[in-house]
């Protein structure tokens, strides 16, 4: 019975995708984004893509399978040091083959492949201007361009090339407020549906021999009903609290994690008891296209991380204070 239910669900999903695909060339930008979201999570696809960021070029392989066994994903670098990310029902594993270690974070028990809805708040279109671009061929597929441009300097924008029928993302460009391209990703070949070789879901590394490193962060409990005890004094326009997890045992210190999102970008704010007497540098650090900021406040450590410009991270990090009762 369970199998039949799963089969029915798959059929329903395919019908849904077919309906999405039937949406013609007059899709609104929002409909295009919704189709992309559905395709990226619910389709099976596999391909090689090149990622360029500044003077960094990396080639990677993605295998994403959605079938009766669930959703499984394997992202592996095929140039440079061996690295992999595996996502499945067991959670997420970050394989660093050079160190022969697997970094796991099992503390975030959420249904796997969580997809925040594109338009979770009406703020999205107030934060971004969206418009259809031209069409072209990418990796042998006809693609439609969609530009999602930031209306202010607090977030990045995107130029997206979506496969014409399914909405699958074939090319992605990260754009700043000045319209400069910060990073880009483009498939050079892609297979869809039954053409996907599921054998590539297996890790390239021999994980059993690797050292497992579990995240030090406590899991906390999802808690959107109660207000966070700390919050940023100022948030960029359009950002709202979407995740709030708290962990508080008197003998083990404080941990509180909030995620603020404008529907497309997200920023995490961590509040922890600071076990170290070392004063953090209070500088914004750039890690790829991600920025991070850490500072102390009394006996607390405040860390802000997000794929947003440095000015946004700094603004949020500097303004974190005890919430009004």
């Amino acid at each position: 019975m369970r199998f039949r239910a799963a089969t029915l669900m798959l059929v329903a999903m395919q019908v849904f995708l077919a309906a999405q695909a039937s949406a013609g060339p007059h899709d609104t930008p929002r409909q295009m984004l919704e189709r992309m979201t559905a395709a990226m999570s619910q389709m099976s696809y596999q391909g090689t893509f090149v990622y360029v960021q500044g003077d960094v070029v990396d080639t990677m392989r993605i295998t994403h399978v959605s079938d009766e066994a669930g959703v499984r994903e394997h992202l592996v670098a095929v140039s440079g040091p061996p690295r992999e990310v595996i996502r499945d029902s067991d959670g997420m594993r970050w394989v660093l083959a050079g160190d022969e270690s697997v970094f796991e974070d099992s503390g975030f028990n959420r249904s796997f492949f969580p997809e925040l809805p594109i338009d979770q708040h009406d703020q999205t279109e107030r934060s971004y201007s969206m418009k259809r671009g031209g069409s072209g061929r990418i990796a042998g597929h006809q693609a439609q361009n969609l530009k999602v441009l930031p209306r202010d300097e607090f977030r990045y924008g995107y130029s997206l090339w979506l496969e014409q029928h399914s909405g699958l993302l074939l090319k992605w460009e990260l754009i700043d407020h000045d319209r400069d391209v910060l990073a880009k990703l483009m498939f050079t070949d892609v297979r869809l549906g039954s053409e996907v070789d599921k054998g590539e879901l297996k890790p390239a590394s021999r994980l059993k021999k690797f050292k497992t490193v579990e995240s030090e962060l406590p899991s906390g409990r999802q808690n959107l009903k109660s207000k966070p005890r700390w919050q940023p004094a100022d948030l960029p326009p359009g950002f709202e609290l979407t995740v709030h997890r708290a962990y508080d045992r008197q003998d083990e210190g404080i941990y509180e994690h909030m995620v603020y999102s404008d529907g497309l970008a997200a920023v995490s704010v961590y509040i922890e008891s600071n076990p170290s007497e070392t004063e953090p540098t209070s500088e914004v650090r750039k890690i790829g296209t991600t920025h991070a900021f850490t500072r102390s406040a009394g006996d607390l450590l405040i860390t802000v991380v997000g794929d947003v410009p440095a000015v946004t991270i700094k603004m949020i990090g500097d303004g974190v204070k005890t919430a009004a009762p």
Partner: protein, 213 residues
Amino acid sequence: MSKETREHLSALVDGEITADTSRFLVRRLGSDSELRATWTRYHLVRDCLRHQDGAVAGDDLCARISKAIENEQPEPHRKGISTRWLKPASGLAIAASVALMAITSVGPVGPGASLSSGDVAAGSPVQQFTSPQSLTPAPASSQVSFSGGRSNNDRNIDKYLLRHYQASGATGGKGFVTYVPIVITGSKLSDGSERINRDAEPDSAEDEESGSK
């Protein structure tokens, strides 16, 4: 092209080539039309990846170049990656990295040396290549030694990054793209992330399109 030459190209990409071999390879680029044609194909791959407007012709050209590269002999596997499907991808990785090195270290090919895609696909000789003075065998994609290269600060931020990506999920519906920075972080930036000067925050630039769409 001999296996040894391919290995030298691979070593050049990996930043594992000696200065002498590098100079030798550069001299040979000046006289070996086949090697030069290959190098130019890589250059064009880079151009495809770099073009800003997603021009149709560029993407189609990319597909053709990608196919041409796939037809070449695959590079021998590197230790630690042994699955069969990595072979064609490794060729492209080399292409991209060599192309990048060509752009950043050698500089762009002049207008007189530009080629049509048909010329490249046919592997025809190209205009004389001028040996660069500063061809450094250290493309960014391989300059970092992975093992032991991560500082305590980097390791410390890893846990926040991983939790952030899990908590925010594939925000914006872009799926696996969310997780690409994690893979990148595991190598290129493992020798210490870039620090932002407080005084160097981006200015609030005018948005000519803001509010108009």
